[in-house]
Amino acid sequence: MSKQLISMSVNGKKLEQAVEPRTLLVHFLREQLNLTGTHIGCDTSHCGACTVDVDGKSLKACTILAVQCHGSEVMTVEGLAQGGALHAIQDAFYKEHGLQCGFCTPGMMIRAYRLLQENPNPSEDEIRIGMSGNLCRCTGYQNIIKAVQHAAKTLSASGLKVAA
């Protein structure tokens, strides 16, 4: 199958790659760029394990083609930590025991990253609604919600913006 040249910025790095037009973004990230932190849980955009940030929106990478992201800025879990320091969201998931098997975690954190920019101080209910596109089978969500609240506090106390 003939390939198409696309360019995008992934985790702040500009890149140009040839892809088959039918390649899903999630496969492009995982297979072509070796960014395997973004997972596939359902292939039908229900579970959110493949959530990435595209041009300032949370997006399920199993439901969009890589070619549709030509010219876009994409961020994955691998882009959260900066200069060897964990992002406040990563630190909060660790401190609040917001993960168990870890499979949903990258998608959860990337969604939280966007949610906290949309709403820097969300209530519990706002978190529950704002993250309802991401499924977790292990934690029962209670500690994930605590982690998002914890991250919100850290970020507002430090005066940092969520975006690194």
């Binding site: 959260l80 870890g102 529950r128 089978r137």
Partner: protein
Amino acid sequence: MNASITERQAALMGMGDSRLRKEDARFIQGKGNYVDDIKMPGMLHMAIVRSPFAHARIKGINKAKALAIPGVLAVLTADDLKPLKLHWMPTLAGDVQAVLADAKVHFQMQEVAVVIAEDRYIADDAVQAVEVEYEELPAVVDPHKALLPEAPVLREDLAGKSEGAHGKRYHPNHIFTWEAGDQAAADAALAKAEVKVEQKMFYPRVHPCPLETCGCVASFDPIRGELTTYMTSQAPHVVRTVVSMLSGIPESKVRIISPDIGGGFGNKVPIYPGYVCAIVASIVLGRPVKWVEDRIENISSTGFARDYHMSGELAATKDGKITGLKVNVIADHGAFDSCADPSKFPAGMFHICTGSYAIPSAYCRVDGVYTNKAPGGVAYRCSFRVTEAVYLIERMVDVLAQKLNLDKAEIRARNFIRKEQFPYKSALGFEYDSGDYHTALKKVLDAVDYKGLRAEQAAKRADPKSPTLMGIGLVSFTEVVGAGPSKICDILGVGMFDSCEIRVHPTGSAIARMGTISQGQGHQTTYAQIIATELGLPSEVIQVEEGDTSTAPYGLGTYGSRSTPVAGAAIAMASRKIHAKAKKIAAHLLEVSENDLDWEIDRFKVKGNDAKFKTMKDVAWAAYHQPPAGMEPGLEAVHYYDPPNFTFPFGIYLCVVDISKATGETAIRRFYALDDCGTRINPMIIEGQIHGGLTEGFAVAMGQLLSFDEQGNIQGNTLMDYFLPTMVETPRWETDHTVTPSPHHPIGAKGVAESPHVGSIPTFTSAVVDAFAHLGVTHMEMPHTSARVWKQLQASGVACE
């Protein structure tokens, strides 16, 4: 060294410490290593051609169009596997299962052929291009109908076999009859009972549905004759044994690696046809082959759970003392009996169905039946059918309470096994290790103000204008976990022990290798805590490894809450072997006799002289540098722990539900879970496990169902239809605990991660039914969806239309 005892204790981060998880660093940075993350040079991709029919003959398979697609290397069918004798494989339950359908398909989505291609997109194209001609046969989806004389024979391969792995088969679609207890005694109790109740109930077919599906990467090295397979397996060592037996490759040249696993919940115990085909393909093609199923394949074809049609009878006195229990079950095992149970227990530990109660006589019988549905019957977050058993007895006790007009807390308290009766021998043959049910029940009732809740409920019931019905669910469950004593529990003849090998290095760090494998339970964190407390070395310097059969000692794996009860014990025992040697070295270094030494947290002290001591770290150095004359250098031990008994965790769960009379919607107002798992290793992780188990229980009780139409078409096998709760539906959980250590376990721990699943499911049903109890309703079938509850509101004449 002026650190206080408390400071030294804290520095270890040993048992009882809510230590943060060691495994998190990689997961939060996207550096986990799950099966689908593994890439090997030259790796090929496999995809599976599946049957659209539940029951059909295969008239022909045409591979030509698929093979013509550029990038397709092979298409394999049962005929290709036949010369290798791999078209069928043995199951863990003593049956056989088709690896690829051999002339006939037995369930929808059964594996018919596999294609191997250069990438996964081409493999999926090729699946569409394989042409299979079917002749449809009548499907049997109801296990009761499967046992009718005129029912079609599903398993023609078993024709004429009146004996199965578990005794007589009385019908071609019958798999086994399994009994426990004393039928005559149970019948006698029922015959002379002052009060009797009977209830039929169906525990629907559900699927564990871990977020990561099943898959593997098989890599055969033809030069060395070695097979390495990365696999989503909860039991890699057993898989290695089976793969060696099937392939003829010596076990020493088969390496199974379970890397990071994205949740298991029992779904990743069985050996699936996809694994076998990927391994065969790698051997045939001499290149690594990856197979990762998609979600639809996962839900449709891999290990389902439950599907038990149960009927119970209780005999009791007028004041609510239970005198007898009788249970009959028709168990739908699907097309092949590939349940994952200890070999001698085709109904698992279902005979725990006398629950937390001193029931003098009991009998249970389970009949396994073939139908045209996917095979399985795995222990979905429970120890082998314990979920079904707990549901049965807890429902029966509620039904009896209603009949006698007794409060459901009161009837439980009247029938509990009392603290002083432990160890307690149950009528169905278990010896319960320890428990204190009355204390736990009182704690819960006080915490939630049970009397206040009942008063509120009474007021609502008296008010016809109340927009909601209020229900209070109560469950007092006992599990049997930690399989198990090798004398009764084995998998394919291998005893269900587990193992630990610990090496303490010269500088005082240590590595522990285990026969289990975490799927999110946090073993790397908690196992290290046990060693830290036993050996006085900080848990931070203790590395835990598991899942690689080439490096870890043989173990039976992680399922049935067996990691802490069995492997946790192996850790303690291996540590104690090291401790014993360390003491000899310390005595030598301090020039005293062993009897003159006391152990204190992290050091051996000379009695009466605090200044004269050697820490474990000092001893580790000495073990490699100057051991006593005649002693082997080094400081390591291995222990294979064969438990003397199961452990019996228990809990009291209470749920308050409000049901809208206008819509049938249920709102879980409160869920209070008290668990007693014996000694607690890491309270933070325990709480996390309980939250997760409660949420899975909520899903099962309130929404999960794998249903089939008359033709055997599965209804709803995507996450659009199959209910996995999001944050929005999931209730808030309150947790509590008591601690009743197991007397036979080296550290007194019993296991916890499955209790919340087992215990919560009947609690939800108990609450929903309780909302209708004043209207004469005694039982409602799961799942309690709004539509079903709405129907009950209408039937009871309380719906606001």
